[in-house]
């Protein structure tokens, strides 16, 4: 995964090249109850790029990601998808606009948020049918395809409560992919990983659950890395 840090003003010259920009956000500001959480964030996502947003807890990472699909409405700033302006703070936001954006920007939640009363297959098909207008047949076919690709063929007709955390995450990913979005947002994906391995200088320094490795690392190097990333140093 390539790493790019968020800067608080538009970063330097845009690299010229054949890559087109899938998503760009400019000058996003957001306050909650008088407290400014996002102070003018800009980001450009190029096609095929994976951008990891990292930062200390409380830095506004989740809030920023949620602004990108308008689960939170920025107080200031604008968002463009494939060069088309889809959001401008200050303009009234219609539900149809927001929905159009969300069809292009998919999201996988930290707690997956699968629909508890539906099977895995139905979870993946629901939005295909009622957001995209595909027929039940088309939707189910595509859902089966996606679920097979993530290795959940045997579990298609199970309810989320019958699936493990890792399986639920895969259903959540399939569900978001089913709408063929141009951009995928993942909120805290590693917290759901079964295990995390920290590798430095060609060796595994530490391996364990996310809580162990990020929360209470045993290895000195791991601890320094985690501290540096979370701004404790």
């Amino acid at each position: 995964m390539s790493k790019q840090l968020i800067e608080s003003d538009p970063f330097g010259p845009i690299q010229p090249g054949p890559q087109s920009v899938s998503l760009s956000a400019h000058g996003i500001r957001k306050s909650f109850a008088g407290k400014e959480v996002l102070r003018g964030i800009s980001l450009e996502l190029r096609q095929g790029e994976h951008v990891a947003v990292i930062g200390p807890s409380g830095s506004g990472k989740s809030t920023f990601i949620r602004c990108l699909n308008l689960l939170e409405t920025p107080d200031e700033g604008s968002i463009e998808v494939s060069g088309q302006r889809v959001f401008s703070a200050g303009d009234a936001l219609r539900e149809s606009q927001a929905r159009a954006l969300r069809l292009r920007v998919g999201m996988v939640f930290q707690s997956f948020n699968l629909f508890a009363t539906y099977t895995a297959l139905e979870n993946v098909s629901l939005a295909q049918r009622f957001s995209l207008g595909r027929t039940k047949h088309e939707a189910d076919e595509r859902s089966e395809q996606l679920l097979r690709r993530v290795g959940l063929e045997q579990h298609m007709h199970k309810h989320p409560s019958q699936l493990s955390g890792g399986q639920q995450q895969r259903v959540a990913i399939a569900r978001a992919l089913a709408l063929d979005p141009q951009v995928m947002l993942f909120d805290e994906p590693t917290s759901a990983a079964d295990r995390v391995a920290f590798i430095a200088e060609g060796e595994v320094q530490e391996i364990g659950t996310p809580a162990e490795v990020f929360g209470s690392p045993k290895n000195e190097r791991t601890r320094r890395f985690v501290d540096a990333v979370s701004g404790e140093l």
């Binding site: 939640f109 948020n113 699968l114 629909f115 508890a116 009622f130 309810h159 409560s161 978001a176 709408l179």
Partner: protein, 229 residues
């Protein structure tokens, strides 16, 4: 002494009236309760407050009083016949109790699922129909069955206004033939059978709700007990 079987058979017309009264009251009351519960989730005080007052009134009045109010209380204004009075009285009582149940069920839909539905660009109406409603139904069904049981047992009160439902027929037959105790026992048995059957249904529904709706279900159960009374 008539055989137990004959007693039961003679009570069947009364039993049938009881069942019809209970069913009609439930059909009136539960949708009413759903609408009330819906209004109770609204943010507009203008909508909520009148409903809160009505709910408190019909939960605060004994069902018998509500029945008397409709059958005798309105005598000088409009005459309501027996069956209608029973259905309206128990209907609004059931509605008042189920309002709180539906309100709790509607607000218990996990926020995360609503956010996910929004993130998937589902239209608002579809979110209500496909996400909110199924969850509400699964959570609300067990305590609503509890309300149905209360309504069913409540119809016995119609005896006080002279209706010839189960209790009424058992009593009058018993007085006339001097066999009051056996008649009452037979009626009690019939009430018991239906109640036990409905309670079993309630438990099955509760298991299904807990299984599918996940952890939100048990938390509301105690609050619903308080709400039911």
């Amino acid at each position: 002494m008539d055989s137990f079987f004959t007693i039961i058979v003679d009570l069947l017309p009364g039993f049938w009236l009881t069942l019809r009264m209970a069913a009609a009251s439930a059909v009136v009351g539960i949708p009413l309760g759903f609408l009330a519960g819906l209004v109770l989730t609204s943010r507009r005080k203008l909508f909520r407050y009148p409903v809160i007052v009505l709910v408190e009134i019909f939960r605060g009045f004994p069902a018998l009083l509500t029945l008397y109010l409709l059958y005798f209380g309105l005598e000088r204004i409009v005459l309501i016949e027996m069956f209608t009075a029973v259905v309206i009285a128990f209907g609004v009582t059931a509605g008042a109790y189920s309002a709180e149940i539906f309100r709790a069920a509607i607000t218990s839909v996990p926020r995360g699922q609503l956010e996910a539905a929004t993130a998937l660009a589902l239209p608002r109406a579809r979110i209500v129909w496909s996400i909110v409603l199924p969850h509400v139904l699964r959570i609300a069904v067990p305590p609503i069955i509890g309300i149905v049981i209360l309504v069913f047992q409540g119809t016995a009160l119609a005896y006080a206004i002279g209706a010839k439902e189960l209790l009424g027929s058992a009593f009058s037959t018993g007085i006339m033939t001097g066999s009051l105790f056996p008649q009452l026992i037979a009626a009690a048995v019939l009430y018991l059978l239906v109640t036990v059957a409905l309670t079993g249904l309630e438990r099955v529904a509760a298991r299904r709700a807990a299984r599918i709706a996940g952890s939100s279900a048990p938390m509301t159960r105690r609050a619903l007990v308080i709400a039911e009374t």
